[in-house]
Subunit: 415 residues, 2 copies
Amino acid sequence: MISELEQIGQQAQQAAFVLGQLATTVKNQALLAMAQALRTNQAAILAANQQDLQLADKLPAKFIDRLRLTSERINQMAQGMEQVANLPDPIGVVERGWVNHAGLQIVQQHVPLGVIGIIYEARPNVTADAAALCFKSGNAVILRGGKEALKTNLQVGAVMQQALSKLNLPANAIQVISDPAHETANQLMQLTDYVDVLIPRGSSRLIQAVVQHATVPVIETGAGNCHVYVDQSADFAMAEKIILNAKCQRPSVCNAMEKLLVHEKIAADFLPELAAKLTTAGVEIRGDQAVQQILGAAVVPATMADWKTEYNDLILAVKVVPSMETAIEHINQYGTKHSETIITQNYENSERFLSLVDAAAVYVNASSRFTDGFEYGFGAEIGISTQKLHARGPMGLPELTTTKYLVRGNGQIRK
Amino acid sequence: MISELEQIGQQAQQAAFVLGQLATTVKNQALLAMAQALRTNQAAILAANQQDLQLADKLPAKFIDRLRLTSERINQMAQGMEQVANLPDPIGVVERGWVNHAGLQIVQQHVPLGVIGIIYEARPNVTADAAALCFKSGNAVILRGGKEALKTNLQVGAVMQQALSKLNLPANAIQVISDPAHETANQLMQLTDYVDVLIPRGSSRLIQAVVQHATVPVIETGAGNCHVYVDQSADFAMAEKIILNAKCQRPSVCNAMEKLLVHEKIAADFLPELAAKLTTAGVEIRGDQAVQQILGAAVVPATMADWKTEYNDLILAVKVVPSMETAIEHINQYGTKHSETIITQNYENSERFLSLVDAAAVYVNASSRFTDGFEYGFGAEIGISTQKLHARGPMGLPELTTTKYLVRGNGQIRK
């Protein structure tokens, strides 16, 4: 007896086999058709979303905002799919090729991963975004969103499946899991026979749960406890501008700044004006003893927990450090290896910081908010990997592929 | 309270920080010094090995042969380290670089993974081989070999550590776990705070245990249920030569052939002569009904289990198929996605087979025994990945790295 989820897995695998062979033009046509279908079926999607919203009416306003779809948001989802259609196809690209000592023609070519599982929370736009990226890269996708968005996700999934069926393409290329039970998510994490990769998207709690329970290989995304270190030689005006941007422009996201480290030689000169501007911007400042001495009573004392915490909010913990080396040590100890920044005018320090800090992206004199697939010019983003295997940093379409060695011979045997 | 294993992890992380900054020449000098130290300390290593061998005297001869070191084998280990010293350094290599829309200079550069855990069985040469590859790629390594080889591994580890200390390099770059308890291996698989990647090397039972228990990301290596499909258009002489090589040249390894699929139109012509040669070479043939009809009583009937089994021995299961499509379906269902081969003179079939078979390496008219880091020209091999994330197929030094984005700006903020 095969479980319902295993059947979904099997169907996905069969669809992936077809998908891996599709021409780029066929995939692009399908993406445009799915985008159009989202617009055409707007009413049905909004009705399903309304049902989800009614059940969610006791949840926090922030949560409900993420869950809510509007005509405009559906149009954005459709535009996203159209943008993915315009991106280069990562499949078939040859990574390298050579002739070995025995005369074998060896080519390493990019091919789809196969079946990708996406586990996410209450943003229904992820359903369309992730489906588009997986589809373009020739992968079948199994989508498991938050139960609060279930009816919306199922409707969005059904609309995309109908569009695929109309083109005689396998509808099972995109499947939304309809069983909201927690146990189903756990089963998906163990479905090694059918799922090649799991990508969790959402809170660090969700991601850690997936890392802990999955036997399917996981690409860890997300958590960002990002630091800015202001060096002794920093240009104060530039430092202020970058800090205000990195902290305040969108505090809820993973590439936002969470911690400020300031060299002790400039702390007393630099901090008061910065603190005033941060306070004006609504930022709560938490400081170590040295910061408290400089800024006085306005500062909340920072505790050990502060150095480890990703606030995702208008809070900034500030620490005075005796040297860049101490700053680097602090970052390598408490950071989440996401995005780390130095503000400096000193060439040697910039190079040492770039080299010694262990993170997906290390910045000199720029805002960490740039760690993003679109800002990097990838035209898309499935997430930001904070692990070291396979992909590190913003992941676009090429990161949704693996490779295969094609070896052409004429009778070679091994000696 | 920190456990002994956590302490090993912490020490490895500290060593990795130093290692990641070492110049290529310094790493090469250290590798040459460690190689020399293995030769100089041969007596101590052989004495430790003798102790392991005495405890193992009730184990099978094959097992004892793997465990046994000789003067010649120690010299081979040393030569292996010297060869690694001669390979290009994968660290610092720039994968790509560009300027983004905001004028940021973005460079994606190869850096070490950090700390690598290797879990392996009774071959003590892995201790030196894996240490050399990890060291050259700037990674600290934690080695956990089979308990039967414990004294040997500890002695080899101590010799390498002494050589590092003499050069004022961190001895903890190479650590051998001394606690043989099963529980320690399980703890290592969960040591996410300190270990970046686990690479199991050995039997598929070992590898599956690691995949099941690890929360540290794993690179799966090994299992190879490799097929050869002989197409209707095959050159019989070439097919015979390749099959005898792929099956018999070294049957115990993962890239050896395990299954033969033959097109029904040529089976009666092709199989009898091949079977005679295989039998002469000591190969036991197991066949489906069609094969039994052609070859008669000499053939052992193949069961369902045969199609799934990696024998690693002089056994070959043979099946007659009505078409190439059936062969591909069979391979994608029962194969382990390692190395798969077609023998054909038909151009279209060669291209379709390359495209439709899902495996790390797909061969036309060549022996699957070529799936190997040395044969591919990598100069080294840490294993053959059969998973799709990070690395697929033979892994050399570049596969022991990750990347980091270095981003140089002049005050850019996100709009």
